[in-house]
Symmetry: C2
Subunit: 220 residues, 2 copies
């Protein structure tokens, strides 16, 4: 019975995700669903990403948080792009992830034709966000070298559903004795096709590789 | 309708948590529910904690993971204490937290009278674990200096339900430009009574303060 309920819920989510996807396609937008554990650096990477792209592309952001608009305010300080804030605490009982309905409700009547990229910053969590299609084109995750080498094996769904992994904070990899080879081996064991981009959002190292990956998705 | 369902679920959880608590009391055990984001250092802290206490106290561990038994194997390498492994992926659809029923099922018929401390290592997640009483005496969270100063404001339930915060990885606080004063201010704003213990599980600095806090809970 419970399994059937979950299936119905996911089926409903997938129908709404498909509608979101059609809507984003009408805008012409490439949509990235950005996920990670709390503190891995999603927002800092977004700050750099918006800063690096905004002169050439039209951008928008959908911010998911349990409470508050701290990340929205940080991004707003970098560049003025449309930002939709979703708080799961107010309307959705403090949910630990975004789902397709939250995205649809968050967008509401807002229409952004001509947008090149929409970045969805999911709630910081390595478990449930991986389960929900929200209508994105690509699922991208951020992992920090401070989290340890074992995380792909402990949170396999997240690591397996993502197309790209941004390995962040490589500037402090030595300081935290990060075992890069073991981490990459663990990544491959759950997702052989994973694209890994190593970077530091703080120093900017590696960011150009990530921006190149993004802009390759947009016709010249 | 949905709200009613959630209330019933939590009420059922609380009844089972109360039964767990009675059971732990019969053992004479002080039970710590240890929670954090993935990679904050729960397992490394537990390694040091078990190592520091096992000669004077009888210990047991309940390990919660989505998949695998990596943490159990790490702890087993430190000291031989009873460890119960709960995997949420197999029996509970990949749940992102432990609840009271998982603890009750995990213990099953195991009886551990004379145990002084039971450490429950929850699933790495700053959202849902905070919502579930599992029958513990104290909720303790680990935060890493690498996660940033804003997390108490973004995950307020976790920071407000915990009695103790172990602020880990202080040995790299300077390297990640951690703003300690801002972090502590944010902690106080959501939980004025929070006990903060600053430590590094890697170097061992501050661990004695944490062990003193624990042993103060056991009659001499």
């Amino acid at each position: 019975m419970i399994i059937e309920d979950v299936r119905n819920l996911l089926s409903a989510n997938d129908r709404i995700a498909a509608a979101n996807r059609e809507r984003f396609a009408r805008w012409g937008a490439y949509v990235v669903n950005l996920m990670s554990a709390p503190g891995a650096g999603k927002t800092t990477i977004l700050e750099r990403t918006l800063g690096g792209l905004h002169e050439r592309y039209r951008l928008a952001v959908i911010e998911g948080d349990v409470r508050g608009s701290f990340d929205r305010d940080r991004l707003r300080a970098v560049v003025d792009v449309p930002i939709i804030q979703i708080n799961t605490e107010i309307a959705y009982g403090g949910e630990c992830h975004l789902d397709a309905l939250m995205i649809a409700n968050g967008i509401g009547d807002v229409d952004l034709p001509g947008t090149d990229f929409v970045f969805i910053e999911n709630v910081g969590n390595l478990v449930c966000p991986a389960e929900f299609d929200v209508g994105e084109a690509s699922k991208v995750m951020v992992a920090s070298v401070t989290e340890g080498e074992d995380k792909p094996l402990k949170y396999p769904l997240m690591y397996s559903v993502c197309e790209v992994l941004l390995l962040n904070k490589i500037d402090i990899a030595v300081a935290v004795a990060f075992d890069r080879d073991q981490f990459l081996k663990n990544c491959r064991s759950v997702n052989p096709g994973l694209t890994v981009i190593e970077l530091s959002a703080r120093t900017g190292e590696g960011m150009s590789t990530w921006l190149d990956w993004l802009t390759s998705k947009i016709p010249a």
